[in-house]
């Protein structure tokens, strides 16, 4: 049941207002500026929890703002799937805000006001994507997310950073145009772009509709770094680490995955896709799952290696959704927040290492575990989690994914999951090995300041807690069950 509520609007206005306050305070009042970031992120988290409470009480908070086009509202609703993404981005925003303040100040970065302004706008984009109740509202925020992240990618302002920024825009804007074509086509022919559980297009019959499906899937898939449109993500790693951590492991790329899920399950009816169609699509996504992991192995730059791992995990989520079975979808949706928590930990560790030792390459990390035991401990936990080791949450989502694959009797894809997990181990474990079992302690390198170490310990702890109690605080498992039951019945 839906109920008119101001909460979705508040969740959007808070980061918007926050970003302008950040701009007003500026470099001269930097404590106030950082205070604004923290206040806005905590406040947004509170709104998210209030919406979660409403959802648990049995109604969906909803808000119609105004008509964009005759018959098409700019409207928001916090349905269970949106809630998962919303909780993920708001909770990690609060944590990463603390971290990024430490990071930016330790490195004495330039243009911090621009950084925090754009960061806050990007979160606005992610929240908007999570809460939108139709494709057009989603697209508006999707574009806000793209544009506001561009200055963050090119933050360093040197030639490499500018090139990465340009590449980022070329890929994402082209993808968005493709998606926009799909949206407009649907509006022109069905006069409907609202998300309905189970979708409003029951069959993909003719060639044009297939093209529209692909343009939506690949258009949004560009942001989810589907191969062969993935090149922008490793290049974007030139951005400051908090950006890579929150935006390029969580908000931006997950917005792409999230939009693909919306297209698959809320616009089209995924269950009724023809078996051959979904098989070839799954195969296409599997190429990314395996290919990204293979590319990750030969990457020496730590952040770029993590980026390839992100590409792999995003494709894992999409492949899970394409298995078209209850358990696999459950695993796929759970993997969105779980991967978010684990990957952000890894990125924060990479950032802490960089701040303290200026080391960016895996081959330089010998013995770093002796100097930074907490950081590397958290790193180890998350890396093991991504390989699928219990009791860390990565195990849980992979478990469901495999279960779902069997349920859909697509046994061959089991091989994809297992190979992917094996390759995860191949490129993560050497880092752990180097850090703890090779090299000597370097007395000059110490643990990063608490404002950076505490957040990454928190998220690492989070990924263990979610592995043991998936319903902890966020009621993730309940939310996912609500999503599943809206497609398959209870």
């Amino acid at each position: 049941m839906e109920k008119e509520s101001l909460l979705p609007l508040l969740a959007l206005l808070t980061p918007l207002l926050g970003s302008f306050l950040i701009l007003i305070f500026g470099e001269k009042r930097r404590n106030l500026r950082e205070g604004t970031t923290l206040a806005a992120s905590s406040l947004t988290l509170i709104w998210a929890f209030l919406m979660l409470k409403a959802l648990k009480a049995g109604y969906i908070p909803q808000k119609d703002l105004f008509e964009i086009f005759p018959g098409l509202m700019f409207s928001f609703r916090a349905d269970p799937l949106g809630m998962v993404f919303l909780l993920l981005s708001t909770s990690l925003w609060l944590i990463i805000s603390i971290y990024s303040i430490g990071y930016m100040r330790s490195l004495n970065e330039h243009a911090q006001t621009r950084f925090f302004f754009c960061f806050s706008l990007a979160i606005l984009g992610a929240i908007g994507v999570a809460l939108s109740s139709n494709l057009l509202s989603l697209f508006v925020f999707y574009e806000i997310l793209t544009i506001s992240t561009f200055p963050l990618v090119a933050h360093e302002e040197n030639l490499d950073a500018l090139r990465a920024g340009r590449k980022y825009l070329v890929y994402l804007l082209s993808g968005a145009s493709l998606g926009l074509f799909g949206i407009i086509y649907l509006w022109g022919h069905y006069h409907n772009v609202s998300f309905v559980a189970g979708g409003f297009i029951k069959e993909v019959k003719d060639g044009v509709l297939t093209f529209v499906f692909f343009s939506l899937f690949l258009g949004f898939g560009t942001k989810a770094a589907l191969m062969p449109f993935h090149e922008w993500l490793p290049s974007a790693m030139i951005a400051p680490t908090p950006v890579s951590a929150l935006l390029h492991a969580v908000a931006v790329v997950k917005a792409g995955v999230f939009s693909c899920l919306r297209v698959l399950y809320f616009v089209f009816e995924a269950k009724k896709l023809s078996p051959e169609f979904s098989f070839w699509l799954s195969l296409f996504v599997s190429v990314t799952v395996i290919g990204a992991n293979l590319l990750a192995i030969r990457e020496d730059n730590l952040k770029r290696r993590l980026a390839f791992s992100t590409i792999n995990n995003l494709a894992v989520i999409l492949l899970g959704a394409l298995m078209l079975s209850k358990e696999a979808l459950k695993g796929a949706i759970l993997h969105i927040p779980f991967h978010g928590f684990m990957k952000i930990t890894l990125f924060m560790c990479a950032g802490s290492i960089y701040v303290k030792s200026k080391k960016e390459r895996v081959s330089e990390l010998d013995g770093i575990g002796h100097n930074m035991p907490f950081t590397m401990g958290a790193f180890t936990v998350s890396a093991l989690g991504l390989c699928g080791m219990p009791p860390i949450c990565g195990f849980l989502s992979k478990w469901y994914l495999c279960l779902g694959t069997l349920e859909a009797s697509k046994n061959w894809f089991l091989l994809v999951w297992l190979t992917s997990s094996f390759l995860d181990a191949v490129y993560f474990l050497p880092i752990v090995y180097r850090a703890f079992f090779k090299g000597e302690k370097d007395p000059k390198i110490k643990e990063a300041p608490p404002s950076m170490t505490i957040p990454l310990l928190l998220t690492a702890l989070g990924s263990i807690v979610f592995g043991l109690f998936p319903n902890f605080a966020f009621h993730l498992l309940d939310l996912v069950k609500m999503v599943i039951s809206s497609f398959w019945g209870v």
């Binding site: 008509e67 697209f139 145009s177 407009i184």
Partner: protein
Amino acid sequence: MNEQLPALVVIIPLLFSFIIYLIGFIEKRAPYFMLLISSALTSLFSWKLLIRVIRKGSLSYHIGGWEPPWGIEYRVDHLNGIVAFAVSFVAFLVVLSFKERVEREVDPPRWSQLYALFSLQLCGLLGITVTGDVFNLYVLLEIASFSAYSMVAIGKRGAEFSALRYLIFGTIGACCYLLGVGHLYILTGSLNMVDIVNLLKSIPDSSALRVGLCLLVIGIGIKMALFPLHTWLPDAYSHAPSTVSAFLAPLGTKVAGYVLLRILFGIFNPSFPSEKVLLEVLGWMAFMGAFFFSFMAIIQRELRRAFSYLLLNEISFLGMGIASGTLDGLRGAILHLINDVFMMGCLFTSLCAFIHQFEKEDFKYLEGLGLLSPWVSLGFLMGGLSVIGIPPFCGFFSKWYLILGTIQGKKWHLLVGILVSSLINAILIFKVLEKIYLRHPHVELLKKLPFTFLISLLILSISLLALGGLASRIVKMVIDPWIVTLGGF
């Protein structure tokens, strides 16, 4: 009073242009304020006119009290109501901003002449918009054109030559238009638009009529700078004084675009046998133009030339919307016309402010502008994002309709044209924005930003957002009621 409005919006700037010129001999500073009053009054009256038309339907004014088919009729319906308002309001904002720039750029003896020409130009543009008589439209077209030629010629090096070229092209365009009007007059015996529409119904299709239509479209195509009739525009707009291009760029071609809409849909209509072919040709012209102009825009070294090509590209979008020949394409074309007045106003006013502050027009002087001059940068940012169609800026909403129109008309080449050339435009815009926000300044500001520029840039930027939010209302209250009167959709 309300009944006199259609005449007032034309008469006021006309009278003021004489007053401005004469008062310049007595008091050097007075002409600017007279121009400001003139443009403020016209935008006020055109706003009232628009409200009146939305509330009570179209308004007809008989010049000199002569009944329509014989006398000249000024006829304001929903379409020209909103075009007149957009034109006069943006003209007012540009005039508001540029006082100090004109005084820097032009020698004092010429001030009053230039201001008088601005007022005359405004008179011509608004006259073209509100008139309901095809021959009167020609007269006003010439008033607007001749004032534009002379304004361009005031510019610095190269301006005389560009102005001459502009004059030759413009005159050819006007001649074509006049010949087309001649054809219509011989066939129907009338010059009044409403009358012609009725008379055309009983006239059999003939080659004379087709040639007439083609001549009208070619004539207006030159004024509107449709590909490949555009060659006069980049030179004229980049050699003219920066204030003149800030004034002409948002208005001139868009008013010509309005005339094209009026001819193709108001007088003739798509059910007219040869118009289908014409639309097809127009579509391919606009399609090629979109690619050509967006490529030309990214290879320019001078900012003003690049923006001129951007402007031409937007005109091609207008052409593609018209050529799609569908309801939504037409909606998109009209919405885009109105949005484009504001978008180009925003970009070219920012450009004018930028030139005022640096006296340079190369791209490289944009570096670090975000730190040096945040408000001008904001103008570039908002205008630029709107041009490439990023939501929630207004450019997105008109592109939505344009794309919808091409999909419904199954004109796939136009769809590709709109999507791809928007992406190529994005390259130019982000090249500008990257320089503004992600580079360090290495030149110093010559001048502080005058307060007037700040105000009009703010209003223009905000209106880009407001137009986005109002898109649905504009379509419902203005565009659809006009399209309903056409029949055939």
